[in-house]
């Protein structure tokens, strides 16, 4: 391939993925407001467009037009780079998720590890945002976010490992193919629950939203960010919710396997149902305390995940 061809392909692929990321976030913000409204017995956005569908579009345009304020005493380099680095994993993750048999930007040999490795880059952006803002709330928010994410990643990976063990491959399409008759949630209900809890914790959402607890920390690490820079953090968060649900769909719910409907439709159906469940959790449960959060992770989830992995190994590889 020649250089212009490579560049064209890159720009095209990146454009498609980023467009999807943006549209998905717009839809999810609208969905979140509707879900919260239904749960709280309200109507939610109704004015702009049919049942308020264009409300988030209007909000996004407003954010684009807003002034980007750079406070005087911030660390300029890190402050400018932080939203970009926090957003960077979003398109990289979406690009690696196969939607149906053979459909997807790329199906990597090591797709399963890739997803978790790339997701880590966002923490770097969060730390940079918190530190560079030169604001104690931002710093505390960033530290909480990273401490929480690093801790919850361990049981999360252990839960995924049980699925990898059963599938016998790190390739996402192989993992889905292994669930052809029966999805892994049937064999691995404990791993599924552990993964769901850790995934919600990783995306910093209620009941694990301590990093941006508005009653204590203003808005956590993105307190000082305005306009499009704030929007990038927002986009990253909602893409993370999508990726979390997509991973659950691929690893536990059988991916694009399903009767009657085409594969990609099954994939999106399962993913958006999972997104709805994650939103439902957010508007149902109150926020945890910092110590409860850590105790729950290290004293409950981690031993459970290790035990689950051990038992699965014995049952599955030991001849059953």
């Amino acid at each position: 391939m020649s250089l212009p061809e490579i560049l064209l392909r890159l720009v095209l692929a990146f454009g498609i993925v980023v467009t999807f990321v943006a549209l998905n976030a717009l839809f999810l913000v609208w969905l979140e407001r509707k879900v919260s409204a239904v749960i709280q017995n309200r109507m939610g956005p109704m004015e702009v467009g049919p049942i308020g569908l264009l409300q988030t579009m209007a909000d996004a345009l407003k954010l684009l037009g807003k002034e980007m304020i750079t406070p005087t005493s911030v660390d300029r380099i890190a402050f400018l780079l932080a939203p970009i680095i926090a957003f960077l994993p979003a398109p990289l993750l979406v690009a690696a998720i196969p939607i149906a048999e053979g459909v997807g930007a790329s199906d990597l040999n090591v797709g399963a590890i890739y997803l978790f490795a790339i997701a880590n880059i966002a923490f770097l952006g969060i730390l940079m945002a918190g530190w560079s803002s030169n604001n104690k709330y931002s710093l505390l928010g960033a530290m909480r976010a990273v401490a929480q994410n690093v801790s919850y990643e361990i049981p999360m990976l252990l839960a995924v490992l049980t699925v990898i063990l059963m599938a016998g491959s790190l390739k996402l399409s192989d993992v889905v193919a292994a669930q052809s008759p029966v999805p892994f949630i049937v064999f691995q209900p404990i791993a599924f629950v552990i993964y769901l809890i850790c995934g919600v914790a990783e995306s910093n959402r209620t009941p694990f939203d301590l990093p941006e607890a508005e009653s204590e920390l203003v808005a956590g690490y993105h307190t000082e960010f305005t306009g499009m820079r704030f929007a990038l953090f927002f986009l990253a968060e909602y893409t993370q919710v999508f990726v979390l649900s997509a991973i659950i769909t691929l690893f536990f719910l059988g991916g694009w396997n399903g009767p009657f409907l085409p594969g990609w439709l099954w994939f999106f159906l399962k993913t958006y149902v999972m997104i709805f469940i994650v939103m439902w959790l957010r508007w149902t449960y109150p926020r945890l305390r910092s110590d409860q959060l850590m105790n729950f992770n290290w004293r409950v989830l981690l031993p459970l995940a290790i035990l689950n992995l051990l038992i699965s190994t014995v049952l599955y590889r030991g001849g059953l």
Partner: protein, 182 residues
């Protein structure tokens, strides 16, 4: 395609290394280190080592770089001050760098990395099998090392009972920033 990727990774790694070495702000230096680690991860992709590349990101960027940045945040807020340059320190660091770099360079130069060998990369299954058969002893020693490191960290970080606490330790204790948000 592969050449461009390799060059990009190399440029990123070298630029990050230079930033890590000359930045006066410790936080910027740590960010430079993170860029170097990410660039190194990119280098493995054109060589066919996707697993190593991903593991590099997972371990070095996701754990090591994050821990370093996290430690910088736990320390007192010195970030607005500039570090002092010192000729003696500079000389010492050049010597240490030389001691590490010269054997590494000669080792790297002695291997014929260009050619068929660079592209016959083992699969994940092969790496796993070799780790648990031929290299099981070094592998286990590494686990023991990590366990010792974790236990050591716990021993250092453990809160001693009030009466047994050394006065110095107590002074440090009151300054620890993580106490504030715990």
């Amino acid at each position: 395609m592969n050449e461009y990727l390799f060059i990009m990774g190399m440029v990123a790694a070298l630029f990050g290394g230079v930033v890590a070495a000359i930045a006066r702000n410790l936080f910027h230096a740590a960010l430079g280190l993170a860029l170097t680690l990410a660039g190194t991860a990119v280098l493995f992709i054109p060589l066919g080592g996707e697993l190593i590349s991903v593991i590099q990101i997972l371990v070095y960027l996701g754990a090591v770089a994050i821990s370093i940045l996290f430690i910088l945040m736990l320390s007192p807020p010195f970030y607005l001050k500039r570090g002092q340059r010192n000729v003696l320190k500079l000389i010492v660091s050049v010597i240490i760098t030389g001691i590490v770099a010269v054997p590494l360079m000669s080792a790297a130069m002695s291997v014929n990395a260009v050619g068929e060998r660079a592209y016959s990369v083992p699969t994940v299954q092969q790496i796993g099998r070799v780790l648990l058969t031929d290299f099981v002893f070094p592998f286990e020693i590494m686990s023991v090392l990590l366990t010792v490191a974790i236990i050591g960290a716990i021993v250092i970080a453990r809160d001693l009972p009030e009466d047994k606490q050394a006065p110095q330790a107590q002074a440090v204790e009151t300054k620890r920033p993580e106490e504030v948000h715990a």
